[in-house]
Assembly symmetry: C2
Homo-oligomer: 522 residues x 2
């Protein structure tokens, strides 16, 4: 039962109902894109002094338990972790075993994301060690929250939104625990070296900058200086050496897989053709495509088109894979600007190639900065679980009501110059273009094109694109026509889940910290 | 006439008299090394929103005047600049010409350092455009301040102390103007590319992070992304393109010169022998030596000793020169950790060699962080203008009373494990080992060894070093004996300048922001 059961629901500017109070704190309902104006100051950590830190730079303590005691772990604290180890993360489970053993309760766990491997932590949600999760819940923990079992309310933020929440002081982290594939005893750390190498460590950057106490945990301790220092030792309190951070085979893939589904390959072809015919694919352009099966197929197809036309990109945004690194090495882009690496080639390239550049949610996505990289992208290709006829989209819940995915950088990327949703028109006989998205994650005004295997719908707000593609042989259609066709094919609209309309499992923040929508529980 | 003329002078823990109020703000007298404990929070800049910045990332405005108007330049503001362009800086003079033309007055100029090229600005100190300077004053501006002509009181901080003052909110920067040898229109910038390439840009890091408004000025505008981004565009408001930032031949030397003076070469030999015989020179050691003539000679001599013994350093701290980069390239060190480059080879190596690593006053020197690099150094070789028989040292004024040098990283480096002052025993017939230093910059307890051409004095606090060197053939002597010999040689003690003992030209802060000493005016 959540605390917010009786919290008043208020209607926001998107017409969605959101709780007025979340986990005891008054919320700000979504006011519209670019409408909310912050008037506060950034979080201000206490001033430290070197007099309190070892002058030889050696911050090693014998184990995680000792580190947690030294930083003053207490009931009710907020503890953050990052998800660069993805489904191979072993450390977070050990962290909560340790907290349980110490006997501390009511922790607000603030991960950048949780994965199926963290299903292990359900016992600690049940027994009160963890009070609630603020962060992406991929899979089992999202299901747990949707079943109404979590004591507090989940708060879902994009990657940029999470950095913003830390920077703005919305979330005060008491203790950040940073898994580091390579680190020195001073706390300098990176993710490009070591047996658990994962690529960038940017999801933990804000944690390292603003948390009261920072513990770096590594399974590959190197002599000072650990270079590059994507996490800076100057922000770190203690360093712990462990045998293993997790399962390297689940941290990064040996290879990432391109889709083999004919429908999905067709979608990828449509995207590539659209990007070329719309005039986006020209010398010096930029794009971001992610690492899903459709996206990788799109990359290979776009690459052929770029080669055929002699076009070179200025930069491509990661998550990186071998398909991106090949483009860099073949001279099809000047730079990869990378926030996470999905396969071993991505990690290797980031380690070795100075034009494969480490980025963070601060540089790429933070909406409360002086600009960010996302809005400069000429094209972004994203997925979605649902979209409606007004181009409003969902990326966290399925039509059955279950919260099963995080937002990732999805919302942040909506600020790109041309936002393309690449989606199959149905999944498991469930139509994807719906009357009303289960959860609103992205306002339709920000989504320019929906590309399915049955046709391409351009948002009427983008008359410029419609005009540019007016002579195209691409199957450009009205979104309602595609929707209707799929409804007929699948035997009608998706069934509505029987959610309690006053029982809040989680809320979805917009990039500016206002509440965009509510995930209701069963 | 300074405001502080009538400010009460109070005696601090070092026995020096410092003003209780500086530029209208109550000061904290020095309390002893590691004794002052901060209890405040860091500076908290206002939260910004991308809604206020161009979504295409293009922050270019047509000229500096327009940028200054857009950021709201007003009387009495604090404007910061950095000194990576050293005596080749043309931008700062143009900046104040522009401020004068706009008609704004009473600027607090907060440079990381000023150089002889800034003598041009005396007219703006005279006419009230600049109220006073807080920052190193090398040469003419220091002379101007010592002559009692500056309206406010100069505040001298070390490189780390300056970062600390910004971070801690002691100095609120209204407008940071950052000269950038390479930048993109978003504001990402570095100093390793472009015709005015100077090496690192770390002295401007704190300014970019904490200033209300940040203007990047470049004479080499590149397409986004400018990589590496030592200054991050996410912290930048406006970008201005100009024809030239200054005189490249005075920004970095073509080559840096090793001393040819036999006395100074002898000092260099003594240092090298001391570093070897004390056991400091062993595999994995680290040191910092700077770029003065003696220091470079020491580097060459140490290099021979390292080769002869098969010893490799783990890291050497810059400022970098060709002598350091050769050691890196010959495998005599794993890393150069560099804060500034003094010659073109230093710049080239930083640009090309991933083991030549960019650092900043945050990583290297900030005393109000969770440790810093300086205290981890096995040996540092520093200069001084004066030292007394208790090893107290001066680095800013000469015995004639004139303020002619900045502190640089000198105070920060005193936290190294073995601090060696390498000084000729006299200069222009003026003895350097004095009864009482004109200005106290470094407490004697932090200085381990004084090496002159007439002998080596080890601080009695370092009995461990005295014991290690007990069988050495080095001329190890009592500091008072060397002092006496030089007094006799030079015809007695230096003449005392006729300074007004109640007229404050500038104050010297300790690394923690407390006042260590006062520079009195004539």
């Amino acid at each position: 039962m959540t605390k917010e059961l009786k919290s008043k629901l208020v209607k926001n500017a998107a017409g969605r109902y959101v709780p007025a109070v979340v986990n005891g704190i008054a919320s700000i309902p979504f006011k519209g894109v670019n409408k909310y104006r912050p008037d506060n100051s950034m979080a201000a950590p206490p001033v430290r002094t070197c007099a309190d830190y070892p002058s030889d730079g050696n911050k090693l303590v014998k184990n995680l338990k000792e580190a947690l005691k030294k930083v003053g772990l207490k009931n009710g604290m907020t503890i953050s972790t990052h998800h660069h180890l993805r489904n191979g993360d072993g450390l977070t489970n050990v962290l909560f075993d340790t907290i349980k053993a110490i006997g501390v309760k009511d922790i607000r766990w603030f991960p950048s994301a949780s994965f199926p491997c963290h299903e292990y932590l359900i016992k600690y949600l049940d027994d009160g060690t963890i009070h609630h999760i603020e962060g992406s819940m991929n899979g089992p923990l999202g299901r747990y929250a949707t079943d109404g079992k979590m004591k507090g309310t989940g708060i879902l933020r994009s990657h940029g939104g999470r950095y913003r929440a830390i920077q703005d002081g919305d979330v005060h982290i008491d203790i950040a625990v940073i898994a580091a594939p390579s680190a020195d005893a001073f706390g300098n750390a990176n993710g490009v070296n070591g047996k658990s190498a994962c690529g960038p460590l940017g999801f933990a950057l804000g944690d390292s900058e603003y948390a009261d106490k920072v513990i770096v945990v590594t399974d590959s301790l190197v002599d000072f200086p650990c270079v590059p220092w994507h996490i800076q030792g100057n922000n770190v309190d203690y360093v712990v050496e462990v045998d293993s951070l997790g399962d390297p085979s689940k941290i990064v893939s040996g290879t990432t897989q391109v889709t083999k589904s004919p429908d999905r390959i067709l979608i990828a072809e449509y995207i590539a053709q659209f990007v070329e015919e719309s005039g986006i694919m020209q010398n010096g352009f930029s794009f971001q495509a992610g690492a899903g099966g459709i996206n990788l197929a799109f990359l290979l197809l776009l690459k052929e088109r770029m080669k055929a036309k002699g076009v070179k990109a200025r930069f491509i945004r990661g998550g990186s894979t071998q398909y991106l690194t090949e483009m860099l090495e073949e001279g099809l882009t000047d730079y990869i600007l990378d926030g996470q690496a999905f396969d071993t080639e991505g990690v290797r390239s980031l380690r070795e190639n100075p034009n494969h550049v480490n980025t963070s949610p601060f540089t790429s996505y933070n909406f409360h900065g002086k600009g960010n990289f996302a809005s400069m992208l000429d094209a972004v290709v994203l997925g979605a679980t649902e979209v409606d006829a007004n181009f409003n989209a969902n990326v966290v819940t399925h039509s059955d009501g279950y919260l099963l995915h995080g937002i990732g950088g999805w919302q942040d990327c909506l600020f790109g110059k041309c936002v393309i949703l690449a989606i199959p028109s149905f999944r498991d006989r469930v139509p994807i273009i719906v009357d009303n998205v289960t959860t609103l994650c992205g306002p339709g005004e920000m989504i320019d094109v929906v590309i399915t295997e049955r046709g391409i719908a351009i948002n009427p707000l983008r008359q410029d694109l419609i005009k540019k593609l007016s002579n195209s042989k691409l199957p450009i259609r009205k979104i309602k026509d595609i929707q209707q066709e799929v409804y007929e094919l699948c035997g009608g609209k998706p069934q509505q889940p029987k959610l309690a309309k006053d029982k809040v499992a989680a809320v979805v923040q917009w990039v500016d910290g206002t509440l965009l929508d509510t995930v209701f529980a069963f």
